[in-house]
Amino acid sequence: MTAISIEADAGRARLDLQAGVIVPRVIERGANYARVALVAGGALLLGGDHVRIQITVGEGCLLDIEDIGGTVAYNADDTLSSWSVDIQVASAGALVWHGLPLIVSDGADVLRSLRISLAGDASACIRETVVLGRAGETGGRVRQRTDIESDGVPVFVEEVTAQGGIDVPGVIGPNRVLDSVMIAGARGSDDGHDSRVLQFERPGSQARYLGMMTHSSPLEKVWKRWRDGLMSNWNDRIRMPATGRAAATATAQGRSS
């Protein structure tokens, strides 16, 4: 299992990193902030692989995660593989994660689950993309389960099942790409152009794109807008060691993905 945990500390945040199939690497670290990259330690995702990632964000901390490279679930003759992420964010904490696409090849059968538990005024902003099939393929099967809760109250619970080549109108239709940006603990704005935004009943929003090509997705703009909105609350709160301050501010304001 891969585990990442951050706790604020006077000089530099305490970061506990545990490597599994996915290896976390620190890019930068402040007193209450860290940017961590996730790198695959080997070929992924093969039949029978069960990737687990556990993330704990301590009170008042900001954790920014980035994927280095997308993930391909390879043909496994329908043997199940799974990818489970469990995230807990303590009060006044925030998690930002720009996930890169999971590509589900022909013959792959993937169970992907994402659980997010927020406490108090914690927030999280996540990009998730699933693509059915590599170039020239129709794609395998994926079951994507999402459970987001805040102080024990459910915010968003969904299980989408899709299989390449099976077009169920109303579910995802003939589309190959299921792209989404989700924010919880705060609302994402809808500018009325780039995509339709679902506003959850509890504070939280989702922008979704269903289409044929990842590069046609308009969600990069939504991601940037929502992420920047969340990060703007942190500009004055990120505490960096003296030399790293300028770099962190630039990161919080300027990076788009």
């Binding site: 459910p154 299980e159 077009d167 109108p169 109303g170 339709r196 679902l198 009943e201 979704r208």
Partner: protein, 217 residues
């Protein structure tokens, strides 16, 4: 039986179970059968599970807080605001009717006196508790009603031989029949199915903004 009858005065005729939004988005009528099958395995199961959990909650005393937990679980499984609003509008119709028929039943009192509007499946579950409908029958009723709503709307939107969609309704109900015992066993709100239909949500949101429509959703 009465609860699955479109002539029941609860305002169900304003609802096409997503069919009009689907047509507006370009789904051809030749795909209605597949649409029904997809809906039975997703939206209908969420609605059925919610109704069953509400029936369980409504059988407890006091029911009001438990019903709100079921409502919260349903709302988290209904990310589209447009779909939440239409369901609560339908819920009001059922609630009014239930208030006339079972005015003193504690489950119905809990619904009528609720401080926040409750969705259609939560009210339906409470009615089942008041009327003594068992969980399996309730789950079947919800799935059938949803499919039949599509079929009835189809005859208004794109009239074909009425026998054809009737056959599709049977097929859609049969396609999830083996799941009925599982759905009927739901007691906790957490256990309500969460099968999503993202395209339906997208279509419903778009439809809520149009003015040229026959059905609200």
């Amino acid at each position: 039986m009465m609860l699955a009858d479109a002539r029941l005065p609860v305002g169900g005729h304003v609802h096409s179970a997503g069919l009009e939004p689907a047509f507006a988005a370009g789904m051809p009528s030749a795909r209605v059968r597949d649409y029904l099958l997809g809906r039975a395995a997703t939206v209908s199961l969420v609605e059925a599970g919610t109704a069953v959990a509400a029936r369980h909650a409504a059988s407890s005393v006091p029911a009001d807080e438990l019903l709100l937990l079921v409502e919260a679980a349903w709302a988290a499984r209904t990310p589209s605001r447009a779909l939440r609003e239409i369901s609560r509008a339908l819920g009001r119709g059922y609630s009014r009717l239930a208030n006339k028929l079972w005015p003193t039943h504690p489950a119905i009192r809990a619904c009528v006196d609720s401080s926040t509007p409750l969705s259609r499946p939560v009210i339906l579950g409470s009615i089942a508790a008041a009327a003594g409908i068992d969980a399996e029958s309730l789950a079947r009723l919800v799935i059938y009603d949803d499919a039949q709503t599509v079929a009835a709307a189809l005859l208004k939107l794109d009239p074909i031989d009425p026998a054809t969609p009737a056959g599709w309704v049977l097929e859609a109900c049969a396609s999830v029949d083996e799941l009925i015992p599982l759905v009927a066993a739901v007691t906790s709100p957490d256990a309500i199915p969460a099968a999503g239909a993202p395209q339906n949500e997208e279509w419903a949101e778009a439809h809520s903004l149009t003015t040229q429509r026959l059905f609200r959703a």
